[in-house]
């Protein structure tokens, strides 16, 4: 089975949200700036709760923020 990977559009969505910083997004969902950076770079897969919170901040459904690439 091919290895699946979680990708995301957080960088783009931050840009579209008026160049929101990683620190601002982190503060909004209750994680550090480093954790947002790790999520953006695909180095960390967030919990379901954090993923929903991120989607909520951008006012997007979860699947528009995170994609499951097979």
């Amino acid at each position: 089975m091919a290895e699946a990977r979680l990708s995301n559009q957080i960088r783009t969505l931050r840009f579209l949200a008026g160049e929101m910083t990683q620190a601002e997004l982190g503060e909004a969902i209750g994680v550090t700036r480093q954790t947002i950076a790790a999520i953006e770079q695909g180095k960390y897969s967030p919990s379901l709760e954090a993923a929903f919170r991120i989607a909520q901040v951008f006012g997007k459904p979860l699947e528009e923020v995170f994609q499951w690439e097979c």
């Binding site: 994680v31 550090t32 480093q34 954790t35 180095k43 967030p46 954090a50």
Partner: protein, 142 residues
């Protein structure tokens, strides 16, 4: 580099440094009295290692906090907790396997001196695995 990653590297260096000094002293003791000496002869290097490791850990923590003062006050978030939990699980695995090995070897006639030394080595190795696991997880992701 994030505060908690710096802290993990600092504590890893501390554990390795303290353990290296301990091994150096124990090696000198073994050179003098052999592997079957009195177990209390391990107490001075053990206390020395604990004191040295504590001092180095304090210095490392202060240095890491000074380089990122705001971050040092922030509570651990979900990623920090996950990294810590994964690293602790690995360390627990080391302790379990190590204890099994030590118990097995004890039946082969391990002296008290060797037994205490092996247990100290096991605990320090587990700590090294824990801090290394944290530092690597912060650096490379997981």
């Amino acid at each position: 580099m994030a505060f908690r990653e710096k802290l993990a590297w600092a504590l890893l260096a501390t554990a390795i440094g303290g353990f290296a000094v301990y091994c150096y002293v124990v090696d000198a003791i073994v050179g003098e009295i052999g592997w079957r000496g009195p177990v209390w002869s391990l107490v001075p290097p053990l206390i020395g290692m604990c004191v040295l490791a504590t001092i180095l850990a304090i210095i490392g923590s202060i240095a890491a906090a000074l380089s990122a003062p705001k971050e040092s006050y922030a509570p651990a978030d979900e990623r920090d907790r996950t990294i810590a939990a994964r690293a602790s699980t690995r360390a627990y695995g080391v302790i379990t396997i190590g204890l099994g090995a030590i118990i097995t070897v004890t039946f082969a006639g391990l002296s008290q001196f060797q037994l205490v030394h092996a247990l100290v080595c096991l605990l320090v190795c587990a700590e090294i695995v824990r801090y290394a696991g944290e530092a690597i997880a912060y650096r490379r992701g997981f």
